[in-house]
């Protein structure tokens, strides 16, 4: 099972646009949107949701106002500054938990002399299985301000793998998150190929180096692609040389192309249009060692046909 994870280090380099194009070119893949914090891939792949699941992760403390005696033991013990004064009454203050700060450790629950604190599981978001014109897609949405431990990412990948095995699809293509923290780690560990999409800027170079340290740390074969390369050709070369020195392969370059935004507005992948950068994207795909599995361009008519066949 081939699993390609597309990440970027820095946000905004174009990784989601590229991932959508790869999904179209692959033809027989399962798509996973692991950028659960700011999931955008569905805006290009028009998924039709067939399964919807709530996502619970960890617990959150909840103080019962009536039962609270205002002793403040919870406030002294909480290391995350999550206990706040809820209000005042005759006997003194009563306390409440700020759900944005609570990390669900359970210390206050254990220590409360009145046993006034409940500890329910926390609903953090949702994940979905859908059908798209490129194949099955697993995606998710993290709730506002929810903790992004990587568990939801792990869930998305697990389901994508399950579907790939069930439907005998040989490949998973995952859109990963920006950064180098939990969610990124959760998206790349265990994959057999990571592609980092970067841009020819000092920020792009800086963040690329950080993310290459990460993939080296986890020993995952990594390739690099500079998007919008012609905005700064010198920087592009510098980045490519640096990537090679860091042990990554260079998968190619994609030119700056306003048609990418147009494709996005039309809810299509770049390779489904005549955009000049489509040629570059196909080359990157080939350089990654991939074959094109689908028909060259999915026209809107063919797209409608495919979606209709699911009904």
């Amino acid at each position: 099972m081939q699993e390609l994870v597309v990440i970027s280090g820095k946000g905004g380099t174009g990784k989601t646009s590229l991932t959508a194009s790869f999904a179209v070119l692959a033809g027989h893949a399962v798509v996973a949107d692991c950028d659960v914090d700011a999931a955008d891939l569905h805006l290009l792949l028009s998924p039709r949701v067939t399964e919807h699941h709530e996502f619970f992760s960890g617990h959150g403390a909840l103080i019962g106002e009536e039962a609270c005696s205002g002793c403040g033991v919870c406030a002294s013990a909480c290391r995350f500054d999550a206990v706040r004064v809820g209000g005042r009454r005759a006997g003194g203050p009563w306390f409440t938990i700020d759900p944005l700060s609570c990390e669900g450790c359970g210390v206050c629950v254990r220590l409360c002399p009145e046993q006034a604190i409940e500890f329910p599981v926390r609903l953090c978001g949702e994940w979905m299985v859908s059908e798209t014109r490129c194949g099955p897609m697993v995606h998710a949405r993290l709730g506002a301000a929810a903790e992004n431990s990587g568990k939801l990412v792990a869930t998305v990948r697990r389901e994508a793998r399950r579907i790939a095995e069930e439907k005998r699809r040989p490949m998973i293509i995952a859109d990963g998150p920006p950064g180098i923290g939990c969610p990124v780690i959760a998206s790349v560990t265990g994959s057999n190929l990571v592609l980092v999409v970067t841009e020819p800027t000092v920020s792009g170079e800086h963040d690329l180096n950080r993310v290459l340290s990460l993939t080296r740390h986890f020993q995952i074969p990594t390739s690099v692609c500079v998007n919008k390369w012609d905005l700064n050709a010198d920087m592009t070369e510098r980045i490519e040389e640096g990537a090679k020195r860091a042990g990554a392969r260079v998968a190619g370059r994609v030119q700056f192309d306003r048609a990418v935004t147009l494709a996005q507005m039309q809810e299509r992948a770049v390779v489904e249009t005549d955009a000049p950068s489509a040629v570059d994207i196909r080359t990157v795909w080939k350089n990654l060692g991939m074959q094109e599995g689908s028909s060259p361009a999915l026209t809107p008519a063919r797209n409608r046909q495919i979606m209709a066949s699911y009904d």
Binding site: S8, G9, K10, G11, G12, T13, T16, D37, A38, D40, L43, G58, H59, A77, R79, F80, L100, S101, E103, G104, C105, G106, V107, R110, L111, L142, A144, A145, A146, E147, N148, S149, G150, P177, P178, G179, I180, G181, C182, I185, E199, P200, T201, V202, S203, G204, H206, D207, R210, S213, L214, H217, L231, N232, M235, R258, T261, Q264, M265, E267
Partner: protein
């Protein structure tokens, strides 16, 4: 005033706004780069390093001579950081949230604490700007403790700009908490609007007044403006889709240095926000 610059989607121009705003204001200002996974502000603010300190979090330390293997600690831990696998507890330091619960529940008081390094906080001085940034060690999973360490360095008396990481989850919340105003940066595209709406959800959860900066005006359409109008969200600033800005940025230069005509735009943004904070609607 503490102003946070955030966004749902990455790459919309948060850092561009933060560093240029700090420079354009000209007065003493603190800029805190809270994107500890990928701190970029220093690339634009060629600062003189003033100091660097490691940041640690507490993790448990089991005194095996006192431990009787009862495993109360392992049963309490919500994070699988301390687990019962045999006679004695086993520690996975990277999973630990530092809650202190295992030490509290141990009937033999056999658990103390030690420190585990997660990153550094660095301070730099670039003309009028004191830049404080956090840099998370590669392989460390969680950002918020380091973000809190960066924010702990806020000095009273000078205005503060917080450059947030992208997204809407815990690192962003850790950054924007306690700020007086959040300026959300977005772009007028489908991805921009989608992620902007998620960011609005987070900022509303945090209960902080906010407005929007629309970057790359002209690169998309008017969907973001229409949404803001419908939601009553003030548009604080529009930055044109000027290729010169992209090129300046790519070289690591400040827009307000290379294209001074933009200085007024950023100063106007500051005035607009200050007014809103001083006289909330």
């Amino acid at each position: 005033m503490i102003l946070a610059i955030a966004s749902g989607k990455g790459g919309t121009g948060k850092t561009t706004v933060s560093v240029n705003l700090a420079r354009a204001l000209g007065c003493e200002i603190q800029l805190l780069d809270c994107d500890v996974e990928q701190p970029n502000a220093h690339l634009f603010l060629q600062g003189k390093p003033l100091g660097s300190e490691p940041v640690t979090v507490s993790i448990p330390l089991v005194d095996e001579s006192l431990c009787d293997g009862c495993c109360e600690c392992g049963m309490f831990c919500q994070y699988h950081a301390i687990v019962c696998l045999g006679a004695k507890p086993f520690l996975f330091a990277e999973m630990c949230h530092g809650c202190g619960g295992c030490a509290l529940v141990c009937p033999k008081q056999a658990i103390g604490e030690t420190e585990r390094r997660i990153g550094v906080v660095e301070t730099l001085r670039a003309q009028n700007v004191t830049l404080v940034q956090g840099r998370l060690d590669v392989g460390v999973a969680t950002a918020p403790p380091l973000i809190r360490a960066v924010k702990a360095r806020i000095q009273g008396g000078t205005p503060v700009i917080l450059d947030a990481p992208p997204g809407t989850s815990c690192p962003v919340v850790a950054t924007i908490r306690g700020s007086d105003f959040v300026a959300l940066v977005t772009e007028p595209t489908a991805f921009g609007l989608h992620d902007f709406r998620l960011a609005v959800g987070t900022v509303r959860e945090a209960g902080i007044p906010f407005g929007v900066i629309v970057n790359r005006m002209g690169a998309g359409d008017d969907r973001v403006h229409a949404y803001c109008q419908g939601e009553g969200i003030p548009v604080l600033l529009e930055i044109p889709d000027d290729r010169r800005i992209a090129e300046t940025y790519s070289r690591g230069h400040l827009v307000v240095d290379v294209l001074p005509e933009y200085g007024g735009l950023f100063r106007g943004l500051w005035d607009e926000i200050t007014q809103r904070v001083e006289r909330p609607a």
